[in-house]
């Protein structure tokens, strides 16, 4: 019998090594703990969660809202995951989304007379170059000054945020009260899939990029070199890999993914650049990539979950007296549980010990 329990403990051990399992458990734990917080605050978690669930999946429109919100989140998550797989910690995705959204909006508004099949890709390219160069700046400074890219990317977020705000206020300001650029031309718009929703063909572009990221990381030499650097930079260096140069490439491509997120948001949802349009997508991207274990598939799935949470929080706000901020509590809990698998393991292990003790007692 002792052997039996031991075997069970062993399989549990193995299960907690499994990142997918850990992510799922973390999500469930977060829902439980956030529900507890709601209860303590005097709200009904059942009411809150059912409103949230309805808001995310209740109707075709709700699902469209979830998927539409997930679209920029997929890009943000991919940007973070891609950088992490190359050994870089890119916290500047928020800024890079803006750095992509702004040029995409300008190309969309001012390059007239183009057919859509040229205009749309052109806006994408503008967005990718904008986001990519902005991220590469952090990589360049890291190489030159030997400063951590974490600090650099965080700081560059603010620089880009205010730079874009300045441009939208003066050089490229559109007529009217809003601080925004001119509306893009119809030839640069991404068509919506469900009328009056955020869901556009952008979601297909996002999924295509997820496949591309997977292919790039696993099937190309630069992808191989990136992964080598992330796992053992010393061996990578001895293997003739130019780490400084690869860091630049990693940052450029990561920023390009973020920039695509900005471009898609402009071209599908807003049709112009407007200040504060990113509303924290970039920071959600960090959590999404962590929860998705930095794999493209995992990132897409967790972006969809985060999209549902965001969509659900809006309707929870509207349909109940529960403040939508609880969703932020929930998201923060997800990050805590996912990024500290030790907590989850310890919780599970304690439970299994208790079970064993009970059995022994019986």
């Amino acid at each position: 019998m002792t052997q039996k329990t031991q075997k069970k403990g062993f399989s549990l051990e193995k299960l907690t090594q499994n990142t997918v399992f850990l992510s799922v458990i973390s999500l469930i734990l977060s829902l439980l703990v956030a529900g507890l917080v709601m209860m303590i605050a005097g709200y009904s978690p059942i009411e809150g969660y059912s409103a949230m669930f309805t808001g995310a999946f209740g109707s075709v429109d709700n699902i469209a809202q979830t998927l539409g919100t997930a679209t920029p989140l997929i890009f943000a998550g991919l940007a973070m995951a891609f950088a992490a797989r190359g050994g870089m910690f890119n916290i500047g995705i928020e800024g890079q989304i803006i750095a992509g959204a702004m040029p995409a909006a300008l190309v969309g508004a001012y390059c007239s007379g183009l057919p859509w099949f040229i205009h749309v890709p052109l806006c994408f390219v503008a967005g990718m170059i904008g986001g990519g160069l902005w991220a590469m700046l952090a990589g360049f400074l890291k190489n030159k000054l030997r400063v951590s890219e974490v600090i650099l990317t965080i700081m560059l977020n603010y620089v880009m945020q205010y730079l874009a705000e300045y441009l939208a206020n003066y050089q490229f300001k559109a007529e009217g009260m809003l601080v925004r650029t001119e509306t893009i031309l119809p030839s640069a718009e991404l068509p919506t899939l469900i009328p009056y929703s955020r869901l556009t063909t952008g979601i297909f572009v996002a999924l295509a990029f997820a496949v591309f990221v997977w292919w790039f990381l696993s099937r190309t030499t630069p992808g191989y070199q990136m992964r080598a650097i992330a796992q053992n930079p010393y061996a990578a260096e001895a293997g003739g890999i130019n780490i400084a140069r690869m860091n630049l490439l990693t940052m450029f491509l990561s920023g390009a993914l973020a920039g695509m997120g900005g471009a898609v948001e402009v071209m599908g949802v807003h049709h112009y650049f407007i200040v504060n349009m990113t509303s924290g997508y970039g920071f959600d991207g960090v959590a999404i990539a962590v929860m998705g274990n930095n794999t493209p598939l995992g990132t897409v799935i967790s972006a969809l979950i985060f999209g549902a949470l965001r969509a659900g929080s809006t309707s929870m706000n509207r349909m109940t007296s529960i403040p939508g901020e609880f969703i932020q509590v929930l998201q923060a809990l997800v990050i805590i549980f996912v990024s500290t698998p030790g907590i989850v393991r310890a919780l599970l292990r304690r439970r299994s010990f208790k079970k064993n003790d009970q059995k022994k007692g019986a």
Partner: protein, 514 residues
């Protein structure tokens, strides 16, 4: 009468059976050698005795009393002490402070430094362990640090002393000093267990040897005069091993393939390499002897492009290389193969598969990749072929290299280098942490490469290995080449002396005085 008896010890780790029903009987007052290859379960067994691990089952009897050793504190209270391979010393503290740590002499509730120094000096004199009690540990040589560890054990009134691979990091002179101390400890009635995989040391020092293989005791027998290394090696490995490497001189002209001219590497105003001149010739193995930290790493780095010289030149195929062009990639593409000294650090990416690792450094080349896209079929075919040729024991080339044993990891690296038709091979510590069977194999492969006309530079801390394989040996001390001769002209003593800073001239004087 036995100091330690371990009966039926079994230790099951997650999915490894580290010890299986092990019986160990250590007589009081003897030196007992626990012999086995890496992964044979020696360290696990001793960690169980020292209370670091709990055995899955089994019984321990110390000085006739059955005991349960839950933690090292309990072990210490039973008079058991362990000197680990990586010393457990606090570098900025003095010798005396380190020795008494945890058991400090006190005077009116405060630490009594004077008494500590006194006690340490008394102990040191008693056993011939010469150290300066006031010196900071960070300023000590490796051999002296080890003495501090032994003093620490003795201060804690240890009767049973466990030493984990005590000679791994010592020079020959330090080894003979250590042996002297250990014999003295034995005379005074202490029981000593040494964990080792070195046959020569076992024969020289031990009274009894217990051989472990794959977690099981193969044999436990008294060490006699008639016993020889081959006999022990066979017990240890489980088959007959040849300890000699067949080596005939390579006929013909030995041209210089790679060389250093007045090579200097200065960092923070220190000359890590100081005016080094070296010639690595085809069909020859040039050995570099030296205590670690005397410029070996820098020598490897400048030859493989990892660091650039601050003065002098790297010469390849008769041409001085312009400094700005020297990168690791350039050297790899110039067919300078590199077996890194620390394979865990420079050698491989642990999470990569065998196939991915076996092309590292050559991963851009055809047929492994074309236009930046990996050709997995070609790579996997190559990996299968090389893994088979170099006898890598694995389930599949899709296993991670991190899951292989040290010997097999090294074979992956050697296969990677040798399969790329190198002109020069920089082989640093090629058999470190590798089991005997693999050592034998790696040695014969290195000699084969030399016979095929490759130029080989061998950097090794293992003097036996250096003398067995090298055609010529150069001695590196404090960043300088202090002596170089044909390998046959050296013996272990001379090399050891040169490595520790004695010049050939000063040695001659010593001989005359004697």
């Amino acid at each position: 009468m036995y100091a330690v008896e371990m009966h039926g010890i079994t230790k099951q780790f997650k999915n490894v059976l580290a010890n299986s029903n092990v019986e160990l009987m250590v007589k009081r007052g003897e030196i007992h050698s626990l012999l086995g290859e890496n992964g044979a379960g020696k360290s696990t067994l001793m960690n169980i005795l020292y209370g670091m691990y709990a055995p899955t089952s089994g019984q321990i009897i110390v000085q006739g009393q059955p005991v349960v050793i839950e933690n090292p504190l309990k072990a210490i209270s039973l008079g058991i002490a362990m000197v680990h391979q990586h010393f457990m010393l606090i570098e900025p503290l003095t010798v005396a402070e380190n020795v008494v740590l945890g058991y400090e002499p006190k005077k009116r509730g405060c630490f009594d430094m004077k008494k500590a120094v006194e006690e340490v000096n008394t102990l040191a004199d008693q056993y011939g362990l010469h150290v300066d009690a006031h010196e900071k540990v960070e300023n000590l040589s490796v051999g002296t640090k080890q003495r501090v560890e032994i003093l620490k054990a003795l201060y804690r009134k240890a009767d049973i002393l466990i030493l984990d691979e005590p000679t791994a990091v010592l020079t020959p002179q330090e080894v003979s000093d250590l042996f002297r101390v250990l014999r003295k400890l034995k005379e005074s009635g202490k029981t000593i267990i040494i964990i080792t995989h070195k046959l020569k040391e076992t024969l020289e020092l031990a009274d009894t040897v217990t051989v472990l293989r794959k977690g099981q005791v193969i044999s436990s027998l008294p060490v006699t005069k008639e016993m020889d290394q081959a006999q022990l090696a066979e017990l240890m490995v489980g088959r007959i091993v040849s300890l000699e490497t067949e080596k005939k001189p390579v006929p013909g002209e030995h041209e210089v393939v790679m060389a250093l001219q007045n090579a200097t590497l200065t960092r923070d105003k220190r000359n890590l390499l100081d005016d080094v001149n070296l010639e690595i010739r085809s069909g020859e193995i040039l050995g570099i002897a030296g205590v670690e930290g005397n410029g070996q790493t820098e020598l490897i780095d400048v030859l493989t492009g990892l660091q650039r010289l601050t003065g002098g030149h790297v010469v390849l195929g008769g041409k001085q290389l312009p400094a700005h062009r020297i990168t690791p990639r350039f050297m790899l593409e110039a067919h300078v193969g590199h077996i890194p000294e620390d394979r865990g650090k420079r050698g491989f990416v642990p999470g990569f598969t065998i196939a991915e690792n076996i092309v590292l450094g050559y991963h851009r080349n055809k047929p492994f990749a074309k236009h930046g896209i990996i050709n997995r079929k070609a790579r996997d075919e190559f990996a299968n072929r090389v893994a088979k040729q170099y006898d890598v024991r694995m389930d599949s080339i899709n296993d991670t290299v991190g899951s292989l044993s040290g010997g097999n990891q090294q074979k992956v690296i050697i296969g990677r280098v040798f399969a790329q038709d190198p002109r020069v091979i920089i082989a640093a510590q090629p058999t470190r942490g590798v089991d005997i069977g693999a050592i034998e194999y790696i040695h014969s492969e290195l000699v084969k490469m030399r016979d095929a006309g490759k130029a080989v530079l061998l950097i090794s801390a293992d003097l036996d290995e250096l003398m067995r394989l090298s055609d010529k040996i150069a001695v590196l001390y404090d960043g300088r080449i202090v002596d170089r001769r044909d390998a046959s002209e050296y013996d272990e003593r001379t090399l050891g002396a040169l490595m520790t800073g004695h010049t050939p001239e000063s040695m001659e004087k010593e001989v005359k005085q004697a």
